[in-house]
């Protein structure tokens, strides 16, 4: 273990604190780890952006519990299946992104509101999402797929 990073051949885990700088560190770690596993660039970019938005939601809405304990991020890469998965595990307020209502985009700048942009990005950047609440923590998993080579 080094800098909160745990690794094995296909999987890797990182623990971070809830802060903007730590979210950047997590995104850069994710991109590096996926590229080392030959995940296509397009899927790396999608998962990196989705991870940023998931963690930004935890930071903004997870409450004091989310900030008091480390957030754990785990990646699994399955080249043979053409899939990479990311799990974010946090102690914040229960929140299921898979059940959140669809955001209706504003039609004009005057109607545009500051919030509600993260979930559309997570949905666009993921091919699937799953959520469970277990042990007092949110476990949100999402993934991206690509054609097998």
């Amino acid at each position: 273990m080094h800098n909160g990073i745990h690794t094995d051949k296909q999987d890797e885990t990182l623990d971070i604190a809830a802060s903007g700088d730590e979210i950047r560190r997590a995104c850069e770690w994710l991109a590096t780890a996926l590229r080392q596993r030959d995940v296509p660039d397009r899927q790396v970019e999608r998962l990196e952006l989705a991870l940023h938005e998931v963690l930004a939601n935890v930071l903004a809405h997870g409450g004091s519990a989310a900030r008091a304990e480390p957030i754990r991020i785990r990646i699994e890469c399955r080249q043979e299946a053409g899939e990479a998965r990311v799990e974010v595990n946090d102690a914040g307020i229960p929140f299921d992104p898979t059940g959140a209502p669809e955001h209706t985009p504003a039609k004009t700048l005057a109607e545009a509101r500051p919030g509600g942009l993260g979930l559309p990005l997570i949905r666009r950047c993921s091919d699937w999402m799953r959520y469970r609440r277990d042990g007092g923590r949110n476990h949100f998993m999402f993934g991206a797929r690509w054609p097998k080579r």
Binding site: I23, R24, E45, H52, K107, L109, A112, P120, R123
Partner: protein, 114 residues
């Protein structure tokens, strides 16, 4: 993270943002972007074509500036070039419907002062 601007004549301001518009990146340039967009120029072109990463917090900063430009009677447009990841962020959040986007500088400049 950097933000650079150039004024072209009396009517146009070009702003180039480089780096990552993630949480720390946006926090570091948001005030400057707001200040640059507030200048009394009719048109504002924001060039995102070399941006490495555009998260929702960065999009909110763009919305805020575009609204400020519009409220003073101007127009803000974006240049995205061939930056696929930036384009994906803008399309997924509906920005492309509200702030005109162009591939080239020339098209963007014409639209901003039209």
């Amino acid at each position: 993270m950097s933000i650079i601007h150039t004024d072209v004549g009396d009517n146009l301001r070009k702003i180039v943002i480089l780096g990552r518009l993630d949480i720390p990146g946006t926090e570091s340039i948001a005030d400057e972007l707001e200040k640059l967009a507030a200048a009394p120029k009719k048109g504002v072109v924001v060039d995102l074509s070399s941006l490495k990463f555009l998260a929702s917090i960065g999009i909110r900063a763009l919305f805020k500036s575009a609204r400020a430009v519009k409220e003073r009677g101007g127009k803000m447009v974006l240049v995205v070039g061939t930056n696929a990841s930036v384009l994906m962020s803008l399309e997924a959040t509906g920005v492309s419907e509200m702030i005109p986007m162009f591939r080239s500088d020339a098209e963007a400049e014409r639209a901003a002062v039209a």
